[in-house]
Structures are given as C-alpha cells and as structure tokens.
Amino acid sequence: MATFKEFRNNIKPNWCPGCGDFSVQAAIQRAAANVGLEPENLAVISGIGCSGRISGYINAYGLHGIHGRALPIAQGVKLANRDLTVIASGGDGDGFAIGIGHTIHAIRRNINITYVVMDNQIYGLTKGQTSPRSGEGFKTKSTPEGSIESTLSPLELAISAGATFVAQSFSSDLKQLTSLIEQGIQHEGFSLINVFSPCVTFNKVNTYDWFKEHITNLDTMPDYDPSNRTLAMTTLMDTGSMITGLIYQNKQKKCYEDLIHGFKPEALVNQSLALSETEFDNLVAEFR
C-alpha cells in the first residue's frame, strides 16, 4: 500500500513561502494514502490560479485545465472511469467567481468526486485583486476604495443547492483537513471542502492569526449534528461561515452514477466499444 510519500513528486511548488496551499497539498497526499489509494488510481483535476498548480505537485494522474472549469473536467473523468478517485481543486476565484455556475451544478449533480477549494479571499496569481470571497470594504488593486460587493457564502449556497457533503477547514489544521478530505473521498457523492488557505503576500487582513481568532471548530462541539440540514444552515448564518469541520452530510442520497439509467458498476473505460451487427441492424431499422 502506498504511503503519503509516494504521492510526492520531485517538483518544487512555485507558491510563496508560508502559503497555505502547501498544507492542502500535504493533506491531499496524506488522505490519499490513508484511504489506501495507489498513485495511479488518483486523478487531481485543477483550475487556474496559484492553487490550480496543485495537480502538478502530487504524484498522481491529473489535469491542469482552464480557469474555472476544473469541475466539469473532473466530472467527465469520473463518468469515464468510476474506479478512479477524482479530486478537483482550485482557488476561490476559480470555483466561486468564474466557475460558480459549474460549482452549483456539480453540487446538484452529485457525481462522486471531492472538491477542495483553497480559499484565500483574494486573487494571488494576478497579484492582488478582489475575489467574491473578499470581505466588504476589503481594499485590493481592483477595489482601491474597498470592495462594495457582498461577500459570497459558498457553503450556504452549497447546502441550498442540494449538497450532500459540506466541510470547511483551515490549512494550519493539517489533522482536521486530512481527515475531512478522507471523509470527502469516502462520501459517495459530491463533497465540497472549503479550506481557509491564507495568501501571505497579497492578503494582509485574512492572515493566519486572523483566522485563528475568528474560527470556531465544530469538532469541539460534541452536540453538533452534521446530518441536520437546518442546523447546518443556521450555524453557517449565525457564525458568518467562520466554522471548521464537517458541516453537513447527507448519506442517504445516491450519487449521480448510481442514478443514471443503465450505468454499470464496471468502469465505462473498460467496457467494449463496438456494436454487434445485430445491435447495429436494430438501430438502423428504426429509420426505415
């Protein structure tokens, strides 16, 4: 069985020293090993942005696509090969700005993949512009007088869109993050894990210390019931989404692949392509 080291490759990330994304990378590698994967059975599909480079830093199959489109690519991979564990990954700009449409519909569709968002509330790769996750009044290069748009609450949005697994974590809490990614992988359906992953270069507001001060860890609340959708929603609203841990999980709903009419448990990629002559003749006969 592969250890987390086997999910490492020899490529040095081009992230800034201190970037939260290093821990997310480590957590994915550990989670993959902990659930018993071999590197060739994992596909990491990422978007564009600093965090989008993550698929290149994990020894696994992967595709670094175009901005905002990690999710539809990842869903295509999973439909083609159900045997693969598919993790989609990217930043808050990728998933909640340009790609928000795909995020909502991937949630609704509930294909069995895991989506890890590295949320730093800013655009890092383009050197410091506002993101939908930036707080109101947040000053950036593109909002010199402070952001005047509402801050998006992706987890509330996810739950209202029918999400079956919603979690949030903080890149400094490697243990919790690794555990949540493991649970996300094991969840049979779409799992969304939003990770506060501070940008040490361009975001001087939402720093490591700021998060430590503002976050409440649900793991410290033994009475919290993640199967209660209403509780999940009110808790997010009451805390301004500043909570970490497993926020909501619906174990009853079947994943998309299990609901597709005629879809087999065997990976599609391993099935035969050719039609028999009889099958072909029957198809043609409908046009007589």
Binding site: R53, Y61, R69, P72, I73, G76, A80, I260, L268, L273
Partner: protein, 591 residues
C-alpha cells in the same frame, strides 16, 4: 406517369404540420421513393406559420425543388404564403373550415376538405393530420394498405382503438377528396419506386447513430437549435450501451466534460451551434494544447449572435478554423449528405484519437434537420481505431514521470490513460515539456509547438473533396459544401442541357485545407464559382488564401436564411459562364 413531385403542408406551429409530414413521408419511404424534406419553422413552440415541404422522386435527389405540385393548408395564411410556388395546374387541399380561397393570379385547383370537422367527428381535432395526409395519399393514387401500416406503427403502442380511429380518419380524408376530384389525379401518378430499402432520417439522427457506432459512450451537451436532436437521440440509446448523455449547465461545461472523459479514455463528444461554439473556443484550445482527443459537432445556423436560429447558414467556417487563441492542430470536416453525417462522425472519432486533436464536424441546418432518404448504412465500413495508446508500461528505476508528450518524428506521442501503473505524467494547458511539466524555456517552447503542429503534416482522411469532374477544361468549376451539393447537382443537369460544361467539387476537409487537390481542379476550369450560405464568401476566401487564383474564383452567396434553389444555382452559373439565355432560346426557336 411522372418521376417526381413536390408536396407541402402548412399551418400554425403546433397544430400537426410535423406529424402529418412524418406519417405521409414515412409511408412514401416504405414504397421506396427518394425523399428530401425542408422544414420552415420559427424559434417558438406554438403559433406562427410553419410549413414542411417534401420532394418525392423515383431517383436519388438531395435538393428542394423550385416549385410545388400539392399544397395542404390548415389555414388561409398557408395558402397566401405558399400558393405562388405552385406550378400551373397544381392542387390545394385546404381545410373547408376557413372557407379557403385561391389568391388572384394563381392557377391552381382547390379541394376544400372538412379536415377539422372530420377529425372532430371522430373524437379529436388532433386527428387533422390523419385526414390531411389521407387526402394527399389518395390524390396520388397510392395503395392505402401501405399508409395504414405506417399509421399502425405510429400509434400501435397507444392501443388498437386509437389505431382504428386514425385509420378511419385517413379513409374519410381520402374518400372526401376523391369524391371532389373524381378519383386520383393522373397528373400526379408517380412511376413505381425502385423498391430498394432506404432509410429516412435527418442528419442529426445520422450523427447520433454514427457516434454510437464509433463507440462514443458519453455525450455532454447543452440544448440548442439545430443540434439538440443529436443529444435527444443519444439519451435514448446510450443507456443501452452503458453510456449516458449529460445535459450540462452551459456549453463550456459540455466541452470540458467531454475533454475530461476523453482524457480518461472514453470516446466522448459534444454538439452545438454557433453561440455554443463561441463559448467552447477556449476549451478547444485546451484540447489542442493537451493533445486530448475530442469530437465537436457544429450544426451551423444563421449568425451572428442569436442571428437566425432556425434558418440555414454556413457562416461558422472562419470561427471553426481560426477560433481559439494561439495555434493548435485541429481538424474540421464537413459532411455533405446523410450518409456522410454517419460515416464522418465515425471517422471523426478515429481522427481525434489517431492525431490526438480536437475534430470538428460541421454540418448546416438544412443537412442537420432536413429529413431525407439515405442509402442503407454498411456495418462493415465501421472501424474503430484508437490510435497510439500504451499499456503495461515497465517499471522505471527513477521516479521520473512518463513522457506522455515525447518528441516523435510524426509528432504523435504515446497516450496513456489514468489508472495505468507507471504512466503518471502531468497534463496542462500551460506550455510543458515531454512529461507534461510546465516549462517556459524558449528551446522547449519551439520543440513542443513544432511537435504538435506537425502531427497533421501527413493527415490522411478519406475523400478530402468529392469530385464530379467529367470535363478536362470545363467552363465552370462549381464548388460547395454541406447541403448545397444536391442543389448544385440538380442545376448541373440543366447546365448540361444548355451546353455549359461544369465540374462539381464539394469540399469535405475544411482544415487543414487540401490545397493540392483543389488547386488541380481550379487550374482545369475557366472559372470557379463558389456557392455558400454566408455573406462574405468564407469558403471562397479559404480557396484564394491557399490556392491563389483570385481573379478566377467568384462568389455565389446567399444569406437570407434559406438554402439555394436549383434555379438560383443555374442562373448564377449561367451568368458566370457568360451564357445569354435569351439569344440561345431565340436561336433554338423556343422564343
């Protein structure tokens, strides 16, 4: 006895025009006639004039006709809008309900049939279609049993009572019109058909069937006119073969999902029209850059923007060839018949995997939606060729990545599918090295660009062009693509009759451009006339770009939303050839 005639049904959208046409033409197909349909419709669900025209012939035809023999009208508007097409002595079968009249100056016989009342007497006005098609069938003097069999098949699953009612509606429509006309009309007595079994389908059906035969198992798509029938066909069929159609949230998701599935090793496609293609452009570049096969169907319609969504146009050529930023290898093929819609789709999947490139199959609205006869499709011609995919890769000592993008002589590198041990590599739209690792090195950049682009240097596809070239020095080389071919064929019959020699070329491979083949044909001809449904002569411009001969290549453009008529093609050709019909006719004693 005649060898062909044209029939049209008109009414308000949603009142049975489509179904009347479907049953009438299915029955004709069973008798072995060649059929070619044209749908006039609007981008709305109910209301608004709509009409379907079919041409019925004992010989293969692939064009609408200039005129009309029988018009079936559900309302006066259908008569007013279409009666001018009727040839002298043509027939109008109209619903007596609205007291139909024949417009002034139209020489046509009117048969008012109480279409609605008969249907209502039998229980529902929905059966108007049966009464109308029964009346049409009777005028042609064709055997009623064949028609009733088609009705049986259409309604069989609804129970015998419904079938019987519909058959009764057919009979009453037939009886009524025969009484008025005093029996079947001699002028419409068709010669018997060849009786050969044919298929009757639209181009989009043939594309869907082609995709299934090619082993496509996932289609991700977003509804759009005139492409939706492809996904609608495949969602009915794919589950039987383990696959599925995903209706995505937009066309960007559609193409990227298809790219994801292809990357993971399952043949996948998407289909759309102009607006959707515009949205897909960035992702097509991703497929080119990552060398991921993907098949995209573009059913061209009137552009730009929303344009004329339900009308004919061939104006996406430039976008398909030049769309997406940067430079990638890409193949664009354009089928020109129903048969080709099928075989080209199969070939598109093979080309996509062989060359590891995006392949676009470009139809046009008339080819995608015009229902027509199709020769039997040949199972033995279906070959699935998956290209250079490697398996069972030996262990390597070092932890190096697999060279998925290895520099090779023909540019085609070994593809490995996720899940394969020892095959891990990186895939990115960023410029990368042989293992897929991002690289900005100038040396690497040039090597990789050259490698990708040379993949198509020796592209070999079957029939890059279709040629009917009986003349070594023709007056005209007539060029077309997509659905224009049949119309050109027909006009050429008349050109021959007038002594104008012409060769006919249909361009199938739009990109990379088959320059040498086309150049040879241009050289032979005195003039080259390019027929296309767009306003700027995109195909003619491609020919000039690649083949020069700017003075020789002339445009024949139509961009009003309707396909060329044979008479229009004839006139343009005659003009280009310097033919003066008046003088000739005088000399021949015809004037």
């Amino acid at each position: 006895m005649i060898s062909q005639l044209s029939w049209k049904i008109g009414g308000q959208q949603g009142e049975g025009v489509e179904s009347t046409d479907r049953i009438f033409s299915t029955a004709l197909n069973r008798l072995g006639y060649y059929l070619y349909g044209y749908r006039h419709f609007s981008s709305r669900i109910k209301g608004g004039h709509t009409n379907n025209k079919i041409r019925i012939s004992t010989k293969p035809i692939r064009a609408i006709s200039d005129d009309l023999d029988i018009l079936v009208a559900f309302d006066q508007e259908s008569i007013d809008l279409n009666a001018h097409e009727l040839c002298s002595g043509g027939v109008i079968v109209a619903d007596a309900k609205f007291n139909p009249t024949v417009p002034e100056g139209v020489d046509a016989k009117l048969f008012p049939v109480p279409i609605t009342s008969i249907a209502e007497e039998l229980g529902t006005s929905l059966m108007k279609n049966m009464v109308a098609s029964g009346a049409s069938w009777a005028l042609l003097g064709l055997p009623l049993e064949v028609f009733n069999k088609a009705v049986q098949e259409e309604f069989g699953r609804k129970g015998q009572a419904i079938v019987d009612k519909n058959i009764e509606a057919v009979k009453r429509g037939a009886d009524f019109v025969l009484e008025l006309a005093g029996g079947p009309l001699d002028q419409f007595k068709l010669e018997p058909a060849d009786g050969k079994q044919k298929l009757f389908m639209i181009g989009n059906d043939a594309i869907g069937l082609g995709a299934l035969a090619a082993g496509c198992r996932i289609m991700s798509a977003y509804p759009i006119t005139p492409a939706s029938e492809i996904m609608e066909y495949l969602i009915k069929k794919l589950p039987k073969f383990g696959g599925t159609v995903v209706q995505t949230e937009d066309e960007i998701a559609a193409i990227t999902m298809a790219i994801g599935s292809n990357y993971a090793g399952v043949r996948s496609m998407t289909a759309s029209a102009g607006p959707g293609l515009s949205l897909m452009m960035e992702a097509i570049g991703l497929a080119g850059m990552t060398e991921t096969p993907v098949v995209i169907v573009d059913t061209q319609r009137g552009g730009p923007s929303t344009g004329l969504p339900t009308k004919q146009e061939q104006s996406d050529i430039n976008a398909l060839i030049y769309g997406t930023h940067g430079e990638i290898p890409k193949i664009v093929i354009s089928p020109s018949s129903i048969e080709e819609c099928f075989y080209d789709t199969v070939e598109a999947f093979n080309l996509a995997e062989k060359y590891q490139v995006p392949v676009i199959v470009a139809t046009d609205l008339q080819l995608s939606l015009g229902k027509q006869s199709c020769e039997m499709l040949d199972y033995n011609k279906i070959q699935i060729e998956r290209g250079y995919i490697v398996k069972d890769i030996p262990d390597r000592e070092d932890k190096s990545m697999f060279n998925r993008y290895a520099i090779t002589e023909n540019g085609i590198s070994p593809r490995v599918l996720p899940g394969e041990k020892n095959g891990i590599h990186h895939v990115t739209g960023v410029e990368h090295d042989e293992s897929g690792r991002p690289s900005e090195s100038t040396v690497n950049r040039k090597r990789m660009m050259d490698k990708r682009l040379r993949k198509l240097d020796d592209l070999k596809i079957t029939n890059p062009i279709h040629l009917h070239a009986p003349h070594t020095e023709p007056d005209l080389l007539i060029v077309g693509m997509g659905s224009t071919g049949g119309t050109i064929d027909q006009a050429r019959l008349r050109l021959n009759g007038e002594g104008i020699t012409s060769n006919h070329m249909t361009v199938r491979q739009l990109h990379p451009f088959p320059t040498e083949l086309i150049m040879a044909e241009i050289k032979k001809a005195k003039k080259v006339l390019v027929f296309e449904n767009n306003a700027t002569g995109q195909l003619a411009n491609l020919m000039k770009l690649h083949c020069g001969n700017h003075d020789k290549i002339l445009n024949a453009l139509k961009y009003d939303g309707s396909p060329f008529l044979p008479s229009e093609v004839f006139e343009e050709c005659a003009k280009a050839a310097g033919y003066k019909p008046h003088e000739e006719l005088v000399q021949n004693g015809n004037l």
